[in-house]
């Protein structure tokens, strides 16, 4: 952490504002100081997350001893300063400024989507004059083509440049700008293109007026007609709290959490919580035409809808028959990592206590047991949090395209690095090129060198000498091709940081290599010291929840499956049948056994994981062989097609529950609508299934499930589900802050860490006996030999198809298949960003859009696996090499 910032923050100054004395840290701007004692100074261009522009002049205040009024947003406080925010002179100045702003303003509030939450309207009420003195024709712009998601009405713009600064500073894309001079000033994008970054939707909230408005929300409703549903985003493991603004249960728009103003919830245009476009625009799928609405029983005939009773009986009957004829081990359960914790808990209870099998897992998207083992290792060593970045000095990101997997986590890291609060280091065969611009150093290597590189780093850091030895530096340079300074600065940063987090992407580790890399990282973490933590990033929203609730073959709620105490506890809780105290089959094994005919019955709770399996034909083969397949889902899929019984469930806006994100935060999902037609809430479906199988669950309400689950985690969570709701009785309860994140960082940290650690054993205990000597020779070559570039891949958030891809807004914006190429390779191929390139892989030919960036290591290329149509499932143990050729004359 830079010393200057620390010392600056420690000294305080005392001043008076409107006669009230207060003490704030030195360097605070007057506007923020006033806010801290509840004095609101009107402003447009000031935003706490952006740099200061000082252009709107609405925040003028009087400071004793200064001859003229000053702008409160850019004057830092001084000892003994006396500030007045509401004298006659100040009011006069504001009235004058408002008159300037309104001179050219069209004032078409009735047709403006900002009406009702517009800062210009608000201050016009306070400082506007009733009639205009501006007699000339108002300036008028034509409406340009702008962005598929953002509508622009330039006549309303007050040129505060919030949008420009957001794109430049936070989204890191210099795409918006102010054009022309004087009265002809206007906002636009360079080259008149769209605002293409994935945080672009935030400029809609930031714009204080109705210039930039949401296209999907355009004219859907007036904001005062909407109900605010405070909930959490279901799409990725960043776990952003969001507010869904609904009309008759239909989600009209989604924004970051709202603020309470005079007893009413309103949009917070000064929010510092930003969300990505997937969360902002992708939540409109509740009323989708393709939803499953009726239970279906398939007896080799047409899918006539049946009653719930019939469907549940049919589902239970099949399972009972298989259990009686072939034993409970012939039945398996696959859950989706997008289900809530309560559903997952009930699901595994159904498996373990009602059917009597431990064949339960959530990792249906993994191709081999080796990878599943790596996942287990990664999850059980996870203990990192990025919540309080002021307590962390260094973050090392390995092989993770965070921007495309957990965008808001990436945004937080980049912000912290940009403001020099943390040192950001990147490592691996694929780094996030968006983060790289603010990284202190980054090292890239070929995928098969990764293990050696981490090991070498580990060795270099473990040495006692203060300076890294030249032998170590040389080894690392050889592996990574990086310069001496880069290597040295990376090592020095790692060694000198008092605390840090290693973030790594689990979707970019393959096969046997996976376990090794996770091992290496655990070892590196241990070398770095107890102040370092590991944070694997699963792109799935509730992967941590599935792990914590025991919805995994080798886990129980709150502990590993080798913990006899937990077994005893579960037996006394669930009663009746003694449980089989052993690990079950992991998802890849379940599929394997199913295609061999050993597993005959399968219950699937949400098929999205299975749909992401790299070898769909293997999944289909397994499902086809099953005697009885029961699927609970919201949308039809290739899995529901094969199901014998389909039970329509509820989507995220239609159910209550909790999710746990990558960092272990528990967030409340709130219900704002009923499931369509016959569809039901999933936890009720599971309850009925259990009842039909002969064991009635003892829960009256979902709160009981939550309470039971939380009691199995240590220490038990002190709150009820109801208290977690934003409007619940536990208004002061800290976890509630998850849905109101403004105070999340401070209130939450202590308690939350306790909760998080309950299912995250520190890796010290469990992995103390890990072999420290890394057996390099044991690792087989993992890259195809021969000429060509090595192909690596990972899924991206925008490529999701089961839910997110169905959003009428986001589906058309799915990126076209692209390939990332390192600049050095691009130069050899004479390829530039936007060129069409032909990829050749064996017999296969594929046309892709080239993106030249620093993401892939030299010698490798990277694709988003859920955008391209390549048989990547065939390359789980050996990465393929591909040939690229520029296709002349084609631009994509």
């Amino acid at each position: 952490m830079p010393d200057a910032a620390t010392t600056q923050k420690t000294s305080n100054v005392t001043l008076t504002i409107d006669g009230r004395s207060l003490t704030v840290p030195e360097g605070t701007m007057i506007i923020e100081a006033a806010k801290s004692i509840g004095i609101y100074i009107p402003h447009y261009c000031y935003h706490p997350a952006l740099s200061i522009a000082g252009s709107c002049r609405l925040c003028l205040v009087e400071i004793k001893g200064m001859p003229k009024l000053q702008i409160a947003c850019s004057i830092p406080v001084k000892e003994g300063m006396e500030v007045f925010t509401n004298t006659e002179e100040v009011k006069d100045a504001r009235i004058g400024m408002m008159e300037f702003l309104l001179a050219n303003h069209p004032l078409d509030c009735p047709v403006c989507d900002r009406g009702g939450e517009c800062m210009l309207q608000r201050f016009s009420v306070d400082y506007g004059i009733a009639h205009t003195r501006f007699m000339d024709q108002k300036r008028r712009f034509r409406k340009p083509q702008f962005d598929p998601l953002i509508d622009i009405e330039r006549n309303r713009c007050i040129l505060c440049t919030r949008c420009v600064r957001f794109c430049d500073e936070i989204a890191g894309e210099h795409v918006m700008g102010v054009f022309n001079r004087g009265e002809q000033n206007y906002i636009g994008t360079y080259g008149d293109g769209p605002v293409s970054n994935i945080f672009s939707g935030n400029v809609i909230d930031l714009c204080p007026v109705g210039t930039l408005t949401s296209k999907p929300f355009r004219f859907q409703a007036r904001v005062w007609e909407l109900h605010q549903l405070q909930t959490t985003c279901p799409y990725c493991a960043s776990g952003c709290p969001v507010t869904c603004w609904t009309r008759d249960g239909k989600v009209c728009r989604t924004t970051p959490p709202i603020r309470k103003d005079k007893g009413k919830y309103v949009l917070d245009e000064d929010t510092t919580e930003f969300i990505c476009n997937q969360g902002r625009f992708g939540l409109d799928i509740g009323h989708h035409a393709e939803r499953l609405r009726h239970p279906i029983i398939r007896n080799n005939g047409p899918d006539a809808p049946v009653t719930w009773d019939e469907a549940i009986q049919a589902a239970a009957q099949g399972l009972r028959r298989i259990r009686n004829e072939h034993g409970p081990q012939a039945v398996a359960f696959l859950a989706s990592p997008s289900a809530t914790c309560e559903e997952l808990y009930l699901f595994q209870r159904l498996a373990r206590s009602v059917i009597g099998t431990n064949n339960i897992d959530w990792r249906g998207h993994l191709a081999s047991p080796d990878i599943a083992a790596a996942f287990s290792l990664a999850m059980s060593t996870a203990n990192g949090m990025l919540d309080d970045l002021s307590e962390i000095e260094c973050v090392l990101v390995l092989n993770c395209d965070l921007l495309h997997e957990a965008p808001v986590t990436a945004l937080k890291l980049r912000e912290a690095a940009r403001k020099a609060n943390i040192e950001l280091l990147l490592l691996g065969h694929h780094i996030d090129s968006w983060l790289a611009t603010h990284a202190k150093a980054y090292l890239q290597c070929l995928p098969d060198q990764e293990h050696a590189l981490i090991y070498a780093l580990d060795q270099a850091i473990a040495k006692a000498e203060p300076e890294p030895t030249s032998a170590d530096v040389d080894t690392i340079r050889e592996l990574s091709g990086a310069g001496k300074e880069t290597v040295e600065s990376l090592i020095t940063s790692l060694r000198s940081a008092g605390s840090g987090v290693i973030v790594y992407g689990v979707s970019e580790i393959w096969s046997h290599l996976a376990s090794t890399v996770v091992d290496d990282l655990v070892a590196l973490r241990n070398t770095l010291g107890p102040q370092w933590a590991l944070l694997p990033v699963n792109p799935e929203r509730n992967a941590s929840g599935a792990f914590a609730t025991g919805c995994q073959s080798d886990r129980l709620p709150g502990s590993g499956c080798d913990n006899q105490k937990t077994w005893e506890k579960l037996e006394s809780l669930w009663g009746k049948v003694p449980l089989v105290r052993a690990a079950g089959l992991s998802a890849p094994d379940i599929l394997e056994q199913a295609s061999l005919g050993e597993i005959k019955g399968l219950v699937v709770l949400g098929s999205d994981a299975l749909l992401r399996h790299p070898k769909p034909e293997r999944v289909n083969q397994a499902l086809k062989t099953l005697e009885h397949l029961v699927v609970i889902d919201v949308f039809p899929s290739s899995t529901t097609e094969q199901a014998h019984v389909v039970l329509p469930g509820a989507l995220f806006t239609e159910k209550d529950g909790t999710y746990i994100d990558a960092e272990g935060r528990l967030a409340r999902l709130c219900k704002g609508d009923d499931p369509p037609e016959d569809a039901r809430d999933n936890w009720q479906i599971l309850g009925e299934l259990a009842k039909a199988l002969g064991t009635e669950f003892p829960y009256q309400r979902l709160d009981d499930v939550f309470a039971e689950l939380m009691n199995l985690l240590h220490p038990p969570c002190p709150f009820t589900l109801e208290e977690l709701a934003p409007e619940g009785p536990g208004a002061e309860c800290p976890i509630r802050c998850i849905t109101k994140p403004s105070d999340r960082f401070h209130v939450l940290a202590g308690k939350y860490h306790a909760l998080a650690s309950s299912f995250r054993p520190t890796c010290h205990v469990r992995f103390a006996e890990l072999p420290t000597a890394h057996a390099e020779e044991k690792i087989p070559p993992t890259v195809e030999s021969g000429p060509g570039l090595i192909l690596t891949w990972a899924p991206i958030l925008q490529g999701r198809d089961h839910w997110g891809g169905r959003s009428p807004t986001m589906a058309p914006l799915r990126p076209s298949p692209y390939i990332e190429i390192h600049p050095s390779n691009a130069k050899e191929l004479a390829v530039q960003t936007g060129d069409a390139v032909e990829l050749r892989m064996g017999e296969l030919r594929l046309l892709l859009r080239a993106i030249v960036c620093a993401g892939p290591a030299p010698g490798t290329v990277h694709v988003a696996s859920n955008l391209v149509d390549l048989p990547l499932g065939d390359y789980l143990t050996r990465l393929p090499r591909v040939q690229l050729k520029k296709v002349e004359g084609k631009q994509t």
Partner: protein, 161 residues
């Protein structure tokens, strides 16, 4: 006793010869006051375009929540109203409406007015939910005091993009 009886009859006979206030509805109809507040009308411009821009201010002003509307965007091919926005669905539930006239007062476009029509009987509840077709004035009826041309999109200022 007889005297009282005659006194009473005198009152009766006096009133028999006074002009009567009731009318023989439905054969005869009353003349309304000019500000009578009856069934709503949605006005048009002289070129037939609707005045309503779907701003929903009437709905928010309505104390009995009788108005429901959904707005949509005009297309250049078939503009319904001048400007960008129009009411795609506009419903007033006359069973809820208390004929206070607040919607008329709230309307920035003089689009909704309460007309003279009071014959609102019906046999089913649904009949009392007025849609746009039920309220829009017919072009052949003329537009009265609202007979003005719509102000269409102003041209962009010279020299601006």
């Amino acid at each position: 006793m007889l005297l009282e009886f005659l006194k009473g009859l005198a009152v009766t006979f006096r009133h028999i010869f006074k002009p009567h206030i009731t009318v023989l509805y439905p054969e005869q109809k009353r003349v309304d006051a000019p500000i009578f507040r009856g069934k709503h009308k949605l006005n048009r411009y002289a070129d037939g375009q609707e005045r309503c821009v779907g701003c929903a201010l009437c709905a928010s002003a309505c104390p009995s929540e009788a108005i429901y509307l959904e707005a949509a965007e005009n297309t250049p091919e078939h503009p319904v109203s001048p400007g960008e926005r129009y009411a795609e669905l506009y419903q007033i539930n006359l069973l809820r409406c208390i004929f206070c006239g607040y919607c008329e007062e709230a309307c920035p476009e003089n689009a909704i007015v309460l007309g003279p029509e009071y014959e609102l009987a019906g046999t089913r509840r649904e009949e009392f939910v007025m849609n746009k077709e039920d309220m829009l004035v017919k072009p052949e009826e003329g537009f009265g005091e609202y007979d003005v041309e719509a102000v269409h999109e102003l041209p962009a200022t010279e020299g601006l993009p």
